[in-house]
Amino acid sequence: MSSAARPPLASLGHLAARRSDTPEAPEGTPKIDVESMSFYYGDKRALHDISVRIRPNVVTAFIGPSGCGKSTFLRSLNRMNDIIQGTRVEGRIRIDNVDIYKPGLDVVQLRRRVGMVFQKSNPFPKSIFENIAYGLRINGMAGSSSELAGRVEESLKQAALWDEVKDRLHESALAMSGGQQQRLCIARALAVRPDILLMDEPASALDPIATQRIEELIYDLKKTYTIVIVTHNMQQAARVSDHTAFFWLGRLVEFDRTEKIFTAPAEKLTEDYVTGRFG
């Protein structure tokens, strides 16, 4: 048991060599193209030489035990880690062929295009309407008040929340249930019309029914958006994602089609993890 739980680090040595032979790599242009990316918190290296190509209009899941770096990696994709002092990125991350860490890149514009939903729902302490309208206003995306109202309605419908809240748009968002709050945060992110939606364990604090609604929503949204989701829950990864990346100790162990990861993984470590032998 204990030997299976902690495979020796040396067994990871060969991983770097086989990073680019993922099956989807040659098909079309990737939406997000990460090349030998490493991440540091001060002197501590949290991510080691990650290379991954994420394709448009699919759901890509990041799985792995706590502290494996999957959330850190997700937050690098919209430069959310910039807020934390003493962090540093090496290597290259390109979105639509633009290096998002190049000097002079407009981080504010990047974050509008790469939306994010957090683990703990974080609605603003304002009304439901104002939660959605905020992103539109700060980005100057709604000229008239009728246009604003239209965009708010559209976003709430996209997040399958409209019917539940249309009669109480001007009540506090904090009075909603946990699942509704999380869908509001998704609607808020969709309102500014991103291309990519990053979701950091979006259902981990929700009950099974609310979780199911979020998962159905993810399934609908991938027609329009490129979705990257971090999850602790392997069944969830298997249910919602097309591609799955398995992280372990800050390294990308395996990246492949989801059914392959869960049925016939190439790495022993991946198999041990998805079959619940550790993690």
């Binding site: 504010v108 514009q109 974050r111 957090f118 992103g135 700060i138």
Partner: protein
């Protein structure tokens, strides 16, 4: 479990319970003592002062005859000085706190500034009076004016305003900032639209404390030369002035007992001003607290 061991445990439990009750009683006694002291003080002041309290007392100027003396000049002086103090200290205080908390990086310089601000909050007020005398009255040539007094008091309360504003900003959850940044908000948009509204009740609480301290200050204003006997209300920021605590002090030290009653009435007016300021601030705070929820 043998018999003696069981009884030892239960006697220990009983002892702990008695200690608990005794401590609660002690705390209550101390609270009552404190309230009694405060009550006696207020009662004494009210008993001496209410006889003199009248519309005439509020609207008359100082006089050599106690029964004709009023407090209008000191009341308007206090209000004028406090309003100007707030106008100076609030923008500077909030601006400083926002910079230190949101923009400043954690390095040696910022730590030295932080330690200095904390220390400044406990510097005796007379020191600020001497600084005000040297800087505002003499060097900047403001004279013994309302502006010099308000500037001195603003310096005095700035550390408190900065510290309490920083506390309030720090209490705003990071998830709110992240949510805003993730939508493509700039730092300033995040601070203005999300952080400040949430921090505002805490910031206002800091102002209440700071201005309550300023309105009772006597020493620094005497140092910069606020006059004790004026027969006019201040009409510009350049006017000479006096404030309520100085007027009370002036009356108390006179030998005639009639002036002592005036002093008591002056204290009642000062308390009234203080309470209405606090009430206004609390009303404002509650308004902002519920605004986000409508």
């Amino acid at each position: 479990m043998s018999e003696p061991a069981g009884s030892a445990t239960s006697s220990h439990t009983a002892w702990r319970r008695r200690a608990d009750v005794a401590f609660q009683a002690l705390a209550l006694l101390i609270l009552l003592l404190a309230l009694a002291a405060l009550g006696a003080l207020i009662w004494d002041v009210l008993a001496d002062g209410t006889g003199r309290l009248s519309w005439d007392f509020l609207t008359s100027f100082s006089s050599r005859r106690a029964e004709r003396a009023g407090i209008w000049h000191a009341l308007t002086g206090s209000i004028f000085v406090i309003a100007l103090t707030a106008a100076i200290a609030v923008p500077i205080g909030i601006g400083t706190a926002i910079h230190l908390e949101e923009y400043g990086s954690r390095n040696l310089v910022s730590r030295i500034i932080e330690i200095n601000i904390t220390n400044l909050a406990s510097v005796p007020s007379i020191i600020y009076g001497l600084l005000g005398l040297g800087l505002f009255v003499r060097t900047l040539g403001m004279g013994r004016s309302v502006l010099a007094g308000a500037s001195t008091l603003a310096l005095l309360v700035l550390p408190v305003v900065i510290l309490s504003t920083r506390e309030a900003l720090r209490a705003v959850p990071g998830s709110l900032r992240e949510g805003s940044y993730a939508l493509g908000a700039t730092k300033w948009q995040t601070i203005w639209h999300q952080v400040l509204p949430v921090a505002l009740p805490g910031i206002l609480t800091g102002f209440i404390l700071a201005l309550s301290r300023a309105i009772g200050e006597t020493a620094p204003l005497i140092t910069i030369g606020a006059v004790t006997f004026v027969s006019f209300a201040p009409d510009s920021i350049w006017s000479p002035f006096t404030v309520l605590p100085i007027q009370v002090f002036d009356w108390v030290r006179r030998p005639q007992p009639e002036f002592h009653d005036n002093a008591a009435a002056g204290i009642v007016v000062l308390l009234g001003l203080l309470l209405s300021m606090n009430a206004a601030a609390i009303w404002l705070r509650d308004r902002f607290q519920t605004r986000g929820l409508r």
